[in-house]
Amino acid sequence: MAVWLFDAAAVVLVACAIAAIVQRNPLYTALLMGVVFAGLAIPFVLCQAELLAALQVIVYAGAIVVLFVIVITMLGSESREALEEQLSIRPAGTLCALVVGILLAALLAGPAVWVWGSQRAESWPTLLSRNTEAFSAALFTGRYIVPVEMASLILLAAMVAVVVMIVRPPPGSNEKTTTKQ
């Protein structure tokens, strides 16, 4: 039952992704991507990573894509035609890109078929059944403390960078800066 659910979700996700990258209107792209990102929560839940599933939705669908949408609408309000890209596909380049992409997919997925093809990973032992606790235990006990701090620093730096980059000489555009954080 779960497998069916998963495969259905997978098909939908890939379909949405493909649809997203062939859209002309970037807003549609963003929305479809949002669907994909949010949808990825399903596989996460199916392999007992509820926390990540939630975070996936919160961060990607709830924050990142929102940022994209905001930017798109903002720029769109300034000049809509600049936003829309006429898909003048350069045949050679596109062909090349397609070949590479397909090759990549084949190469990446190939091993999955014959290495993990049949074997079923057993589900977590009881220790990990309570995902959140296990996760936080792993994240905050010892080994990952420094990386966590690093990540936080990176975020801080990004914040500062954005504010510096976006604030215009007349500091009227307050919301953009605040939003971006």
């Binding site: 807003l27 929305l31 709830g62 929102v66 609408t73 309000s77 959140t132 919301e175």
Partner: protein, 364 residues
Amino acid sequence: MLVQILILAIKIVCVLLFVMGMVPVLIYIERKLIADFQQRLGPHRVGPWGVLQPIADGLKLFLKEDIMPANANKLVYVLAPIASMAPAIMMFAVIPFGEPVDVLGHRVGLWLADLNIGLLYVLALSSLGVYGIILGGWSSNSKYPLLGSMRSAAQMVSYELPLAVTLLGPLLLAGTLSMVGLVEWQMSNHWLVLMQPVAFVLFMLCAVAETNRAPFDLPEAESELVAGFHTEYSGFKFAMFFMAEYAAIVSICAVAVTVFLGGWSGPVLPPIMWFLIKLFALIFIFMWLRATFPRLRYDHFMQLAWLRLLPLALASVFLTALVLCLPVPESPALVAAANAGVIAAVLLFELLMRARRRLVQEKG
């Protein structure tokens, strides 16, 4: 198995009915309340004491012509109200209305699902709420809606943070993300509002902002941009926005009840009654605020989020964690004291700032 599914289906229907039913009730209550606040009569023509007024309004909206702006982005324009409706309703999936009851031999919890990440689920949905508004504003391809949607996007993303942060304190104390778990913890210990007063107040503030309610209703500030993001909307779609807003209010208040006010816990009365009482109490506060406060200016509003609420929330969480780290067994008094400390500190800071500003002015 079959029974389970049946029960589940029944539950879903009940919850949907509850949410849908809440909306007209709330509309009626609000109009009456505002009227009382303003010493008017409020609706009193349709039905006894105007009880049927909301029904009439609803019918009116459904029967009105559904206008579609000429060069609107059709798909998104239709999508937006749904997008804003869905999260508000989905949020009820994890709200526990009462403690489990026995139905024909099956023990049934009065909630749809008890995710062990219930709280995060709530946050996730509330972070999705912004889509409807942005899309609505953008798709109707008109000046004021766009501005309104930009504003509300900024506003919701900004208030998302303190909202999430204020939930951390209770989380630290209860040690669970599951809504039911939270309620049970509070039943065995104390209501979290006692131990996290600051968090509670902040949460309510952010909730008001998240639901675009007065005094934080800048996205639809009539005086500045007609009706904000749903200016162009009319008829049924408008009704959906409208319902979405009220559904959001109910859901956020339900979350507040569950997290801070001990959910269904309470003496004498049946649990579900307690839940409803608390829920309405909070909703009443919402309306009270609306009736009392004038709308904030936009920049003040953003400053409030980033320079006041967020630091406050962080401080409260920090102190809570500190108290938990202490070797003493955490007592509500201690935690509450810590939070009180936050308030005191902030007030002191504010006073100092005031004094400084006055000094500066005197200097010239």
